[in-house]
């Protein structure tokens, strides 16, 4: 009777231990998957934001240069700097949201925003903004210059 009782308790302990090991393994796998999913989401967010920042810088640089290029010191007769900047910003996937023409026609400053590609990041972070300033260097004796 005792021997049977011992065997029964031993079998129960063994089954319990095996069950615990299985639960631990399952928990470990699930934890690893959750950890990886979290890391992937974070990495995706950082990558998307980094890409948006790079695109915003490109759009701002190009827009400022286009605006300065419309200066009468560069283009005979001049042009509309805001329109030129807005068009180039849009061509780079950005939107012109502000200009500073205090230095006009010797310089032009712009602020551009770009939306991150991922919707949930757009909702949380919003648009990424970048600014740039371009100056005009008139060419002496030629009547023109370069932005």
């Amino acid at each position: 009777m005792n021997a049977e009782g011992h065997d029964g308790r031993g079998a129960t302990r063994a089954a319990t231990a095996a069950g615990e090991r299985g639960a631990v393994a399952l928990t470990a796998v699930l934890s690893a998957l959750l950890l990886t999913a979290g890391a992937a989401a974070a990495l995706s967010a950082v990558g998307d934001l980094a890409s948006a920042v790079a695109r915003a810088r490109t759009a701002a640089d190009a827009a400022a240069l286009a605006g300065a290029g419309a200066s009468p010191l560069v283009t005979p007769g001049g042009g509309d700097p805001r329109r030129a900047a807005a068009e180039v910003a849009a061509a780079n996937g950005g939107r012109l949201i502000g200009v500073d023409d205090d230095a006009w026609p010797l310089g032009y400053a712009v602020t551009v925003e770009v939306q991150p590609a991922t919707r949930w990041i757009r909702r949380i972070v919003g648009p990424v903004r970048a600014g740039a300033v371009a100056g005009v260097r008139p060419a002496v004796g030629v009547g023109g210059g370069g932005a």
């Binding site: 990886t36 790079a54 370069g146």
Partner: protein
């Protein structure tokens, strides 16, 4: 644990490669910006030099639009760059990371 450890290692390696890919996305955009700026100021040869310098040792493709003959001052020139990423290369995959930039032609 014996099951979870290899899985975790594989996932961490994949994440590492994803991080490299993210860095290359920024590098491709920077290369496209330099190429477009060079094309706007100095022409196609300057753009190819700029993108090669930006890419370093990595293979890179550059497409400039419109063609040089069709560009005049004030027009826009677009540089489309594809940069070969080192990410996932050990798995036999070649990933081309795109970048694009548009600048106004200055001369």
């Amino acid at each position: 644990m014996a099951l979870a450890t290899p899985l975790l290692v594989v996932l961490l390696v994949l994440l590492l490669h994803a991080a490299v890919l993210g860095a290359d996305v920024v590098a491709a955009q920077a290369a496209a910006q330099q190429a477009a700026r060079a094309a706007a100021v100095g022409g196609d040869a300057a753009a190819h030099e700029a993108v090669a310098e930006a890419a370093g040792h990595r293979p890179v493709r550059l497409l400039l639009e419109p063609p040089p003959a069709a560009r005049t001052v004030g027009d826009r020139v677009t540089a489309r760059v594809e940069l070969s990423s080192a990410a996932f290369a050990p798995f036999g995959a070649t990933v081309w990371v795109p970048g694009q930039a548009t600048f106004a032609v200055e001369r």
